[in-house]
């Protein structure tokens, strides 16, 4: 798989993502500036974390209107893969590529700590490196990670098995139904709040997040 990573003003986790992709894919991903109107020929588009546009108005609201998002929507509509982490997940919900929204954390605290995530299904390109029900560690770094949607949408997400990860050791940001990440109906768009790319090397303190990138690289 070939990957491109989108870069918006204020994004700060693009280099972590480049490193994670490079280690698993064995090749350098392309970094695409938000003002581009076309994507290169890639299979996977990644929206990394940070504070795009300073979180002005709402997290990800401005980035969702960037020129490059039209190309991302077309890419997704044609069955392309998209991964949104943290601010990237927020951008995907603001752009309508995933349902729901991310609110301010219920406790108002910015969460900068590890959490345990449970893999809800392992029959997707993103999650097949784990067993179903596997629990792994991922760092959180967010102030607005409280996933919300109306009851009908939450029921639909659960009914159609579109919940990707749930918080397994306590729900610190108030996310509905402990949802930490969700898939699109075709299972090719994934958004999650925690940062798997920050645990892909022993030097980082663990490789808990590596299975996600290895599975994508092998696809």
């Amino acid at each position: 798989m070939k990957a491109a990573i989108l870069h918006f003003p204020g994004i700060n986790r693009e280099r972590d993502m480049i490193l994670a992709v490079r280690q698993s894919f064995g090749r350098e991903p392309q970094l695409i500036w938000h003002k581009e109107t076309e994507l290169p020929d890639v299979d996977l588009v990644i929206l990394p974390g940070g504070f795009s546009f300073g979180d002005y108005l709402r997290c990800g609201a401005m980035a969702a209107q960037s020129p490059i998002l039209r190309a991302v929507k077309e890419h997704a509509a044609k069955g392309g893969y998209v991964l949104g982490v943290c601010n990237g997940f927020q951008i995907l919900t603001e752009a309508g590529l995933l349902p729901g929204a991310l609110l301010r954390n219920a406790g108002l605290r910015f969460l900068s700590m590890d959490t345990m995530l449970r893999v809800e299904r392992n029959d997707t390109v993103f999650t097949k490196g784990w067993e179903k029900g596997a629990v792994f560690r991922a760092p959180m770094a967010h102030g607005d990670g409280n996933y919300t949607a109306d009851e009908a949408t939450l029921d639909r997400l659960e009914g159609e098995n579109l919940v990707a990860f749930r918080y397994a050791d306590g729900n610190r940001n108030g996310s509905a139904r402990d949802i930490a990440g969700i898939f699109s109906p075709n299972l090719r768009v994934l958004g999650l709040m925690p940062h798997p790319e920050n645990l892909v090397d022993p030097l980082m303190g663990g490789t808990d997040g590596k299975p996600l990138f290895d599975a994508l690289a092998a696809a």
Partner: protein, 80 residues
């Protein structure tokens, strides 16, 4: 014409900032404060000269950017 767009979280959506403001007001000596909700106001200078057109434009802007209609509701007022 000036359009004033008020954006609030929908009823039932958790507003921890509002809650925190309520607690702070209580601590400041205002025990009479009940529920607090916090929103935002966006003022737009529009080149439209017709109030109906200005309102429609501002509502379109609100739906597309100023409010996230999954979690927020908005109202638009036009000032001359």
């Amino acid at each position: 014409m000036k359009a004033i767009v008020t954006v609030m979280l929908k009823n039932g959506v958790l507003d921890p900032q509002g809650k925190a403001i309520g607690h702070a007001l209580h601590n400041l000596g205002f025990p009479q404060v009940g529920e607090v909700r916090m929103g935002k106001i966006i003022e737009l200078e529009l080149s439209e000269t017709d109030a109906t057109a200005a309102k429609a434009t501002a509502e379109d802007m609100a739906r597309k950017l100023l409010a996230n209609t999954v979690i927020e509701s908005f109202k638009v007022e036009i000032a001359a």
